[in-house]
């Protein structure tokens, strides 16, 4: 029984690992051959013409993430500081619950929200609306991460600083946050990697743009949107582009994840050593 069940559960674990390796291998096989300089530097070309690239989508994704960070990171870090350093009972409980809930809200619903709040008043799709949608997704993740990393800072560090006569805020800024800074930044990177792959909130906010982005108030293309549109199209050329774009997106996302985990693992190790 022992051996049988060990084998059976080990098989489950194996099956759970296979999809990642399969997807990774498939993307390399299908996408790598389309990667060249033009792919990263040129604009998309119409169906039927060969060549072209997705430079505008890469730049667009970067711009959307920048906007998302502007919306989500300062609020998130400050909110996290409140929860960890000032929090009492009532407000933190509600905020934590709301953050937890907001993370679970389907991303398509966030898209509707951003559409109602930004697109409708302005009257057209825009990079701002897309960045806002991604920022809304970013905010609760950053709040939660920041709080957790601040909580790992030992209380005697705070007491030491206070005993030396530093004020509350001075202590937070010069002792608590720097101690947890690496963790907080890693958490922000992970959160950005997560929203970087989101398509659903961009469909009716950032929309798409076949050319270079002409301003924050204009529709903008992005990697995930491009993969979607090219993937469901009927053209082989576009399918090839979709595979290559998916490979680029996945490589970036996994790279950030692996690096972040290495950093966090090392942090844990040094803490144990201390």
């Amino acid at each position: 029984m022992n051996a049988v069940m060990s084998l059976a559960t080990a098989l489950c674990a194996l099956v759970a690992v296979v999809p990642l390796l399969f997807v990774l291998g498939l993307l390399v096989v299908k996408g790598a051959s389309s990667l060249n300089l033009a792919f990263f530097t040129k604009l998309p070309v119409p169906v039927g013409e060969t060549g072209g690239g997705i430079a505008n989508a890469i730049v667009g994704s970067g711009q959307l993430l920048l906007l998302a960070a502007v919306f989500g990171v300062p609020l998130g870090v400050l909110g996290g500081i409140y929860l960890s350093e000032f929090g009492g009972w009532g407000v933190p409980f509600l905020v934590r619950y709301a953050a937890d809930l907001l993370v679970t809200v389907p991303s398509i619903v966030i898209g509707i929200f951003a559409y109602a709040v930004v697109v409708l008043p302005v009257g057209h799709f825009s990079a701002l609306a897309g960045g806002f949608a991604l920022g809304v997704m970013l905010l609760p993740i950053v709040v939660t991460n920041t709080e957790q990393f601040l909580r790992t800072v030992p209380v005697w560090l705070r007491e030491g600083s206070l005993a030396l006569g530093a004020g509350h805020w001075k202590t937070i800024v010069s002792v608590v946050v720097p101690t947890a800074l690496q963790g907080i930044l890693t958490g922000i990177l992970l959160a950005l990697a997560r929203v970087a792959g989101e398509t659903a909130p961009l469909i009716f906010t950032a929309f798409n743009n076949a050319y270079w982005n002409r301003g924050w108030n204009q529709p903008i293309s992005s990697l995930p949107y491009m993969i979607w549109i090219y993937g469901i199209s009927a053209y082989d050329d576009w399918h090839r582009m979709a595979w290559a774009a998916a490979l680029v997106l996945l490589a970036l996302v996994l790279l950030v994840n692996v690096l972040a985990r290495l950093v966090l693992a090392r942090r844990m190790a040094t803490r144990r050593a201390v």
Binding site: K30, T104, T152, G231
Partner: protein, 322 residues
């Protein structure tokens, strides 16, 4: 995660610092930032509610039970989408729960530490794969596979049941369920493993001391102790599956119908919003889609609350036993 600061000490340090001058400003600014999370959450609900007013007034509660979705004649019923969402999610859980819980038991209880860490790392990376990428794999790999391999086999074996009848298009409920299963698997594995690891060692040792085998102590003592927490992980996975948009929209077939056969193409709430919102002409059409979003949000809140309660209950139980 271990809390570095015990509650009592935290209170003391809070009082020590006081809140005057710059400290007061800092308190106020960070409080407002924290409240922004709360404000956004409530704001989302308010927008969904207000922007679906026309649809709610026109169809009332019948909206949920009406199976006709006809934009041309301005008649909107949500049933095909609710049905599609529920069927695909149920299918995904049916596949992912035994696999995920099995894998979690192996990783937490049976595997050597190094192997367990490596496998868990790889499985958790799967959660980071963007859903549009999985959708792409779905279109070009899973859909043909279901059409030419899995579908015919299932039809031969179970073709006498209504579940596996009719033509096999490749796209449809079955394919969407398969892709969703892959998406929720890492969540179930990762959270279930954490919950299992949080079961105190005394229980394992007690069971072993009484003469049970490794597997008996795992299955009869550790897993039941972690039971509610594992159930919580399943609910969290379910909440994910219900709200998943891109991967489902790419493989479900885009046909608003209630069909018994899993081979049939269908639609889900999230994917119909993704597909039709931009082109929705007329206020009623658009507001009906927003109401679908509201329904989805409602289901998610409900599941999320249940999941949280279950996970908390287990954590408390484990602490109590320790």
């Amino acid at each position: 995660m271990a809390r570095g600061v015990p509650g009592g000490a935290r209170e003391r340090w809070r009082l020590l610092g006081g809140t005057r001058g710059i400290d007061f400003i800092a308190w106020l600014v960070t409080l407002l930032a924290a409240l922004s999370v709360l404000v956004v959450t409530v704001w989302v609900v308010v927008e969904l509610w207000q922007r679906s007013k026309l649809s709610r007034q026109a169809f009332g509660l019948r909206f949920l039970l009406d199976h006709v979705w006809d934009p041309v004649f301005g008649h909107f019923g949500a049933l095909p989408f609710v049905y599609g969402t529920l069927v695909t999610s149920a299918l995904a859980m049916l596949i992912a729960v035994p696999l995920g819980v099995g894998a979690a038991i192996f990783l937490a209880e049976l595997a050597p530490r190094g192997l367990s860490d490596t496998l868990t790392f790889l499985i958790e990376l799967l959660a980071a794969v963007p859903s549009v990428v999985l959708g792409l794999v779905g279109i070009f790999v899973v859909v043909p596979w279901v059409r030419t391999s899995l579908g015919p086999v299932l039809k031969d074996l179970f073709g006498f049941t209504p579940l596996f009848q009719g033509p096999i298009y490749g796209v449809g409920f079955l394919t969407a369920g398969l892709v969703l299963a892959i998406m929720v698997l890492p969540f179930i594995v990762s959270i279930s493993r954490e919950v299992l690891l949080s079961v105190p060692n005394d229980l394992r040792e007690g069971a072993l001391a009484l003469g049970s085998t490794h597997w008996e102590s795992t299955w009869k003592v550790v897993v039941p102790t972690a039971g509610t927490g594992i159930l919580g992980s399943i609910f969290l996975g379910l909440a994910r599956a219900l709200g998943e948009t891109m991967a489902v929209s790419m493989v479900i077939g885009g046909t608003p119908q209630v069909a018994a056969s899993l081979f049939a193409p269908g639609y889900s709430i999230a994917s119909v919003i993704a597909d039709q919102f931009v082109e929705a002409t007329g206020d009623l059409f658009r507001q009906s889609l927003v109401e679908l979003g509201l329904v989805l949000f409602g289901i998610t809140i409900l599941l999320h609350a249940v999941a949280r309660l279950l996970v908390h209950a287990t954590a408390r139980k484990a602490r109590g036993a320790a």
